[in-house]
């Protein structure tokens, strides 16, 4: 956000990273960490374990795909958050699959049930966000995570206030439809 680097500076740093300079990478990493961390916690519905998995997967992906980052198309932090958005979907899918495979043994049932109950809201929020179309997820992120007003979102996305309001309504509706805590 505010500590993000300007585009030309980022372009130079990316060139240095591709030449093998770890210091340049660390500057980019530190500049984007806070924003990605907040995003990861939000996307994980506050679940710390899931947020950490998301951070880890995203940074490993970012360093592998750094050659694809184009500073002309947006900031490094925004690019990393975009990667995290896709990573979150995959993680949630894998997590769900694992949960279906696992059948807790009888003695662990009570503890497991307590833990599951505590996590259910966060898990359901994360899952619902993962099922939303990317545009809806972006607009909810701008509204709730970045704390932007409708006017600010409109300005940022180059859209009218009415269009953003309409999209926000549809995004909320989609979230309501996909959110299912009992599932």
């Amino acid at each position: 956000m505010h500590d993000e680097l300007d585009r030309s500076h980022e372009a130079i740093l990316v060139a240095a990273v591709l030449a093998g300079d770890p210091r340049a990478w660390q500057v980019l990493y530190d500049s984007a960490w806070d924003r990605l961390e907040r995003y990861a916690v939000w996307r994980a519905g506050g679940l710390r374990e899931l947020a950490e998995d998301l951070l880890q997967e995203t940074w490993l992906l970012a360093v592998r795909k750094i050659h694809q980052f184009d500073p002309a198309r947006g900031s490094f932090a925004a690019w990393v958050v975009g990667l995290a958005s896709n990573v979150a979907r995959n993680l949630l899918r894998q997590r769900r699959y694992r949960q279906r495979q696992l059948v807790p043994i009888k003695s662990d049932l009570a503890a497991e049930a307590d833990r599951a109950e505590a996590e259910i809201d966060g898990e359901a929020v994360a899952r619902a966000l993962a099922q939303l179309p990317a545009r809806y997820e972006r607009i909810l992120r701008a509204k709730y995570l970045d704390g932007l007003t409708v006017q600010q979102i409109a300005q940022q996305h180059g859209e009218t206030v009415a269009a953003v309001e309409s999209a926000l309504t549809r995004a909320r509706q989609a979230f309501r439809e996909t959110y299912s805590p009992t599932e």
Partner: protein
């Protein structure tokens, strides 16, 4: 449209956002991932240098192959067969076509051949380490590198070349036709590295 949350589900989003604003993940994770990803970036540098060296070596080998093929298809012309000899006649003794070479004096260039010619690479390297003049130091280490390279000891060759390169002047860093492929590659890489450092400064 209002900016306020309108129902409980929206409150969940707001709560998650609030958690995101206040909560932080394991502080060690940040440092751990920083190290892990930096390690990978270091690998990019090494991989880039290996690629560059491989490319240069490939170009060098291709050049040699081209020259070899060219010479193979265009053999040096053989002299035309001599006309059939005339009937034998008593001839005066033919002058000798090959003259014995004159005795070589001590100042002849042939006798000023490289004094290192018979020395093994290890001894040349030792001489290089003992050299007091920079030019001699550079020359001997480069020579030792050549010797090591000729016997296939690439690690030792690299060590000697690196010593030589460290004390080479900019003029000496220019690639010459007598440089081995490895020295040539190292010179080019060093020149590029220095240029990049100058640009950064």
């Amino acid at each position: 449209m209002t900016d306020e949350p309108s129902d409980d589900l929206e409150a969940l989003l707001t709560t998650a956002a609030a958690a995101a604003a206040s909560a932080s993940v394991n502080p060690q994770l940040r440092q751990q991932l920083r190290e892990q990803t930096s390690q990978r970036v270091r690998g990019y540098g090494r991989w880039r240098r290996v690629r560059r060296l491989t490319t240069l070596a490939g170009v060098y080998v291709a050049g040699w192959l081209s020259a070899w093929l060219w010479l193979g298809w265009h053999p040096t012309p053989t002299p035309a067969p001599a006309p059939a000899p005339a009937p034998a006649q008593p001839l005066a003794p033919a002058p000798e076509l090959i003259q014995p070479s004159p005795p070589v004096g001590p100042s002849s260039p042939l006798q000023q051949a490289d004094p290192l010619a018979g020395l093994p690479a290890e001894e040349i390297e030792l001489l290089a380490e003992q050299a007091r003049e920079r030019a001699e130091f550079v020359r001997l280490f480069a020579k030792a590198g050549d010797r090591y390279l000729a016997v296939g000891d690439h690690v030792a060759a690299l060590r000697c070349y690196r010593n030589a390169l460290e004390r080479m002047t900019n003029a000496e860093l220019a690639v010459t036709s007598t440089d081995s492929w490895l020295l040539m590659s190292l010179k080019l890489a060093l020149v590029q590295e220095r240029t990049r450092d100058q640009v950064r400064e």
